[in-house]
Symmetry: C2
DNA sequence: CCTACCGATCGGTAGG
DNA sequence: CCTACCGATCGGTAGG
């Protein structure tokens, strides 16, 4: 019967010590940055001594790798089922953006670490993050190409630039979204998707139609 | 008559030693991050000893402050003249985005530091960056509100969300734009602005007009 | 701008 | 999970 110094956030959420460490590391890495967070800082927040961390982990980078990989897997789990989903093309993009923003919004800490600190990974893990980025980009390109083929998006669109624009909108949320606020992730995604698809311009202002 | 150990990049660009230091610091901070860059790393790239840097600067944070403040001033210089400029509303947003992307594209290093490392500033400089962010956001909100008032943008638009979407597209460029490539900053801005204003949707797909 | 150095702190380990 | 410690490195300074 151990007596944890730091109570778990909820009595009925028995996080393993290892998971607690990863969770606190996400918060500290996102707030202070990976290199600016010391193992002693991390240990202190968990109510232990610096050296004691190494009973649970092999090193500092292992934490970063785990945070980044988990984030990538969450995006994959949320999005890649849409690849083959039987949804109307005009709804697919909205659904993808909604899920994408949700992953960011529900994991602000690890999302911030994911977008900010991946550069500090060593060669192996770094390569897999870059590969992931490539995959997500092609996922969105395919979505848009599908929509163009189905006639719901304009045929003149530059697919690459369009995918970049969509990714800009959903990724950048990690810099400004506040989970406690009035906007749900769905609100954000729906609002962005509507503006993107309908356009900001008024019909009165010389749209060719 | 001094004899610089490190030749300036061009014979006819007599950068002061101080400016050289700031320039190299921008590159290293953007590549490795602020905390992961040591003063000795920086000194070595400049062909001097670690301690010698302090003949030119007062401390490490001074460099970060200067890089961040310069970037903010460049955005201001590029954009704020547009506030009162006598340009048609439908062209103002395009022009603003073009200038915004240009500042990022022509200063990829300091822009990256600006977006990534501002959190590590101490209270005073931090407050002024936050104030700057607020200012730029209101700048874009005003631009869009003007356009709505002039009838070029749809009146149903949520001004705040629209400004956020525009800022997402131009800010996120620091993560993917490559200055040597085929896309000029104007290409990027024009492409984004057209997609945003016209919308991705095809007229055929049930736009109400 | 260099040499030589300061105290502090880093990630990590040994042995319990 | 703790105590005690390792070598390395940090930002910065003194004195020239």
């Amino acid at each position: 019967m151990s007596s944890p110094k730091l109570p778990s956030p909820d009595a009925d959420s028995p996080l393993s010590r290892r998971e607690q460490i990863t969770l606190v590391a996400s918060r500290l890495f996102s707030e202070r940055g990976y290199h600016a967070t010391s193992m002693r800082d991390l240990a202190a927040e968990l109510g232990m001594q610096g050296g004691s961390l190494y009973a649970h982990i092999s090193g500092k980078e292992e934490l970063l790798i785990e945070i980044v990989n988990r984030a990538a897997r969450q995006f994959d789990a949320a999005l890649f089922s849409l690849k083959t989903a039987d949804i109307a093309p005009e709804l697919k993009l909205r659904e993808a953006m909604s899920r994408h923003v949700s992953v960011v919004a529900e994991n602000m800490d690890s999302a911030t670490v994911f977008f900010h600190e991946w550069k500090h990974l060593s060669a192996g893990p770094l390569a897999s993050v870059i590969a992931w980025r490539d995959g997500i980009e092609h996922f969105y390109r395919d979505l848009i190409a599908e929509g163009v083929a189905a006639g719901v998006y304009r045929p003149e669109l530059n697919i690459k630039m369009t995918a970049t624009l969509v990714l800009s909108s959903v990724n950048w949320t990690y810099t400004w979204y506040r989970p406690g606020g009035t906007l749900s992730p769905q609100d954000v995604a729906t609002s962005f998707e509507q503006m993107l698809v309908l356009g900001l311009g008024s019909a009165a202002a010389g749209r060719k139609d």
